[in-house]
């Protein structure tokens, strides 16, 4: 029996699996941006990742350079399908892949529960130096008001506006990373993900 990382371009190799896993943070970010739903993002990210993995194993995706484009299209299709149906499909027919999925490196956002995201967002808001900045962020993120409208209301130039928004985004990322790293310290000594994993479909054997 051959290992799953037996060399064959983009066919169930460990390298291709690594390449796919590297896409996951971006896939999740795109899906969350498209769905605005953390739970749906979790499900869809798995769905898309496994779909891409199956495509690799089936030999439908031979060029490694095409992987991001393929994954991006899968993500769009999945997000559209999600918008049309109440629940995304689950992929429980790939137990080994499920395991590998669970053991991969999570993104900072995945380490935050809904209440924690809310608390971090509040902290970002509270740390902004002026009430004007806070009002700007509330208008942009909470009320969904447009950039030109807010710039006019607060009499801000584009650079000033961008500075406030960028500061808030950057601080949110810092806080989520801090949370991720704190979680890592709390579970110190855990084993690394056992990659490459074996496929249970036999396609790469």
């Amino acid at each position: 029996m051959a290992d799953a990382d037996t060399e064959s371009p983009m066919q169930g190799s460990g390298a291709s699996f690594d390449a796919l896993m590297r896409c996951v943070p971006g896939l999740r970010a795109l899906l969350l941006r498209m769905t605005r739903d953390v739970e749906a993002t979790n499900d869809l990210a798995q769905e898309v990742t496994f779909a891409a993995w199956q495509a690799i194993q089936a030999g439908r995706l031979r060029d490694a350079a095409a992987l991001p484009a393929y994954a991006l299209q899968c993500a769009r299709n999945a997000a559209l399908a999600h918008a049309r149906k109440p629940r995304p499909a689950t992929f429980d027919e790939l137990p080994e892949a499920e395991s590998a999925w669970a053991e991969r490196q999570p993104t900072p956002l995945e380490c935050c529960e809904e209440g924690e995201i809310r608390a971090l967002a509040r902290q970002v808001l509270a740390e902004l130096p002026t009430e004007r900045d806070r009002a700007l962020i509330r208008g942009f993120y909470v009320d969904g008001r447009g950039k030109p409208e807010l710039m006019a209301e607060f009499e801000l130039g584009k650079d000033q506006f961008d500075r406030v928004i960028s500061r808030a985004r950057g601080r949110m990322r810092e806080l989520m990373l801090e949370k991720l790293n704190a979680g890592k310290r709390a579970v110190g000594g855990s084993a690394a993900a056992p990659l490459p994993f074996r496929s249970n479909t036999g396609a790469s054997r």
């Binding site: 943070p25 809310r118 009430e131 949110m172």
Partner: protein, 210 residues
Amino acid sequence: MTALDHYLLRAYLDGELDAAASEAFELLLLERPDLAEMVDADSALRLGLASAAKAAGGSAADPAAGAGANVVPLHRPARWAPLAMAASLLLAVGVGGGWLLRVPPQVAGGAQLLYVDKTRSGDAATAARVGATRPVVLMVPVAQLDACEARIEVQQPGRAPLVTTAVPDEYGYASVVIAAGALQGGQALVRVSCGDGAAAEYPIEIKPAS
């Protein structure tokens, strides 16, 4: 991240890229976890603040208020926090005869905001639905370059005027509180003056809340 990364990221998040550029950036995103983290941070900020606002009782409520801050639901959040703060600092003191603009004992719980929008034409009345059972927090622009204590007067036909003085906040708005039921349906005129200067007048149309 490079300056170009920052530029593209901001343009992408703000929806300023065309379809082709957006797709190119999204492909880059799949290969750059650091960029993905920034996109996630933007989404998390949006989700977190929306969730906090919802938890606070209204889409435009102050998401930072969840830790016990004094909250009044408003429809114009950009002006809201200073207003609530000003209201809580008891800026309104009634001095007129008959009616008084005064601070109800518990403003924060159910007060309603009435916002005089200075960006609209002074000839156009701002329409507002006002309930009879809740106090009203009235926020008015004070068009004065120098610091002043503004005299604010609310006039309605057939009724004695409501009069008070208030200090504008850093955005040039003064906040006063009107007792529940003190405004009646129909036309109202808000007059704002500082010292001996000419009064600015803002018409308001009060509509009883159904």
